[in-house]
């Protein structure tokens, strides 16, 4: 509110009072305007009786009542305001940049939807070409996302074309030009690993050129967790929408299933990748990060599960019933443990001293390592019986990649626990390790097929 002829000191006092009122609370700026207007009227009246402005201010504030009581009253009248809300569309009070960002997002989401339908124009339809779409799923989903970040971060087009574009194009050439045998394992592996490599490539665009920085990398880890949660939520909503669409049209005798499976689902799936990314970016400051909350919830539970598993194994003396899926199961388990570790690390204040939760994490990591070591030991003796198939080598390689990370993390944790290492060293280890995943995933996509004869 523009001041009249009030003194600068009074303006400062009023601004301070107002700031304390607008702290995360149910008092909106418009309400604060109203209350501030009241204060100013009161101060003007008091000053006209001869009081100094600061005295008048003190009296006016006293009459207004304590800020706590006041925001309490407002919260009672407007309980809805305590639920922080994320407006999906551009609203009036938003910055113009947020507004244009919204339309950028819409543009890239639509581009993604068009791109996924484009091959159909050349006779490559979804139903008959599951292999083609499987191999290219990562590209369909992540190229628009990378484009969105390039646009959003203002990365010069020339630089993006020089660095990101060749990498994406390389993956596209490899997955489409390799002469995979029909239904071969290497093809499935490439389809599964291409998104991982591409996702880390998107991280380069996300960081806007600063991908070497630890902080940017950690930011991307945080982004990944939140993005995943949003994507799952959008997917759930999309599933409900698809179900109702089919059901409702069925009632009037129209078969919409074809439309839903060939248009709504693929377009929605790739479009939602960009939408979820935009949501994470837009709500960064609005809502608490969810991934660390889930981490806190599940770290003790997973630690208890693993301890129980180890206990049961020792108690019953059962050997490991070994088959192909065991290693995949333990790879996934290690990945989950690593995720728990990573998101707890991402949300932790590096300066805080260690606490009980750190100990819990240490227990989780160590028990996961022990369980995994038992599985590996059981496998090593018998690997010759099974032979080196692409699936087995991939699973083994993944296990080693995760194992190295967790083992070193455990060591660093111990060092931190003893007070010899700062917590930041754990953080740095995780961010420095990110390229390893990318290299491994690229290896599986690029080197495995020729290595195993495209079988």
């Amino acid at each position: 509110m523009p001041g009249t002829d009030d003194t600068p000191e009074l303006e400062a006092l009023l601004a301070e009072w107002r700031a304390s009122l607008e702290q995360p609370s149910a008092v909106h700026p418009a309400d604060a305007d109203e209350l501030e207007g009241h204060l100013r009227d009161q101060i003007a009246d008091l000053a006209s009786t001869g009081l100094a402005p600061d005295e008048a201010f003190l009296i006016a504030v006293k009459r207004m009542g304590s800020v706590d009581a006041l925001s309490g009253e407002f919260a009672q009248e407007h309980p809805d305001r305590l639920w922080k809300r994320l407006a999906l569309g551009p609203s009036d009070d938003e910055r113009p940049s947020a507004r244009s960002d919204f339309w950028t997002m819409i543009g890239f989401a639509c581009a993604a939807a068009l791109a996924v339908k484009a091959p159909e124009a050349f006779g490559v339809d979804l139903t008959g070409n599951a292999r083609f779409y499987g191999r290219n799923a990562g590209l369909f989903a992540l190229v628009p996302l990378a484009g969105y970040f390039v646009w959003n971060r203002g990365i010069p087009a020339a630089r993006a074309l020089r660095t990101l574009a060749p990498a994406f194009a390389g993956v596209a050439v490899v997955v489409n030009a390799y002469p995979f045998e029909n239904g071969s394992d290497t093809e499935t592996l490439a389809a599964l690993h291409a998104p991982i490599a591409l996702w880390l490539l998107v991280g380069v665009a996300y960081a806007g050129g600063g991908w070497r920085s630890d902080r940017k990398r950690m930011d991307y880890v945080r982004f990944t967790g939140e993005w995943f949660i949003y994507y799952v939520l959008i997917a759930l909503g999309g599933g409900v929408l698809a179900g109702f669409t089919t059901g409702a049209f069925d009632v009037i005798g129209i078969d919409a299933e074809e439309f839903v499976t060939s248009w709504v689902l693929p377009c929605g799936a790739v479009g939602a990748v960009v939408v979820a990314a935009w949501l994470v970016e837009a709500k960064q400051s609005v809502v608490e990060n969810m991934a660390p909350v889930l981490t806190k919830l599940f770290t003790p539970l997973f630690a208890a599960m693993l301890l129980a598993f180890l206990g049961a194994m020792v108690w019953t003396g059962r050997g490991i019933d070994f088959d192909r899926d065991v290693l995949v199961l333990f790879d996934l388990l290690l990945a989950v443990v690593l995720g728990l570790l990573l998101y707890a690390t991402s949300a932790r204040d590096p300066r805080a001293p260690h606490d009980a939760f750190d100990l819990l994490q240490f227990v989780l990591v160590v028990s996961a390592l022990v369980a995994n070591a038992l599985v590996l030991a059981a496998m090593v003796g018998r690997i010759s019986d099974f032979g080196f198939t692409p699936n087995r080598v991939a699973a083994l390689g993944e296990n080693v990649v995760l194992l190295v990370n967790l083992a070193w993390s455990a060591r660093l944790h111990l060092g931190f626990w003893r007070g010899r290492l700062p917590f930041a060293s754990l953080e740095r280890w995780q961010t420095a390790y990110l390229p390893v995943y990318m290299i491994w995933a690229t290896l599986v996509v690029v080197a495995f097929p020729p290595l195993f004869g495209f079988a």
Binding site: M1, P2, T4, A30, D31, D33, E34, L35, G37, H38, R40, D41, Q42, A60, R63, M64, G65, A69, L70, E73, F74, Q76, E77, H78
Partner: protein, 120 residues
Amino acid sequence: MPKDLVAASATPLVLGILSEGENYGYAILKRVNQLSSGELEWTDGMLYPLLHRLERLGYADAAWKVPAGSRARRRKYYRITESGRQALAEQRQQWAVITDTLRDLWHEMSPPPSPALLKG
């Protein structure tokens, strides 16, 4: 004055003042002071949640206006609505019952001590 009594009388009081014509917060409080000769003391801030409640219930409309004048600052003016008038009429009847009852009762009792004595 007990808080409950102030709170209970606040709604009819504010609606009554608004029925005299549209008004803004600070002026409404000054009018309350004037009507009660300063006896009715409100915490100023509490008026605003009340006004917002009247607005939500549809008893009052609010609009930001810049009053004419050289040093004018925009203010939120409240105006009573038709359903606000109905609510006021209802409350007025209810309060009439209470005040009549109390007056009848106290009429039969000894005269009240003067406020000056109470304060002393």
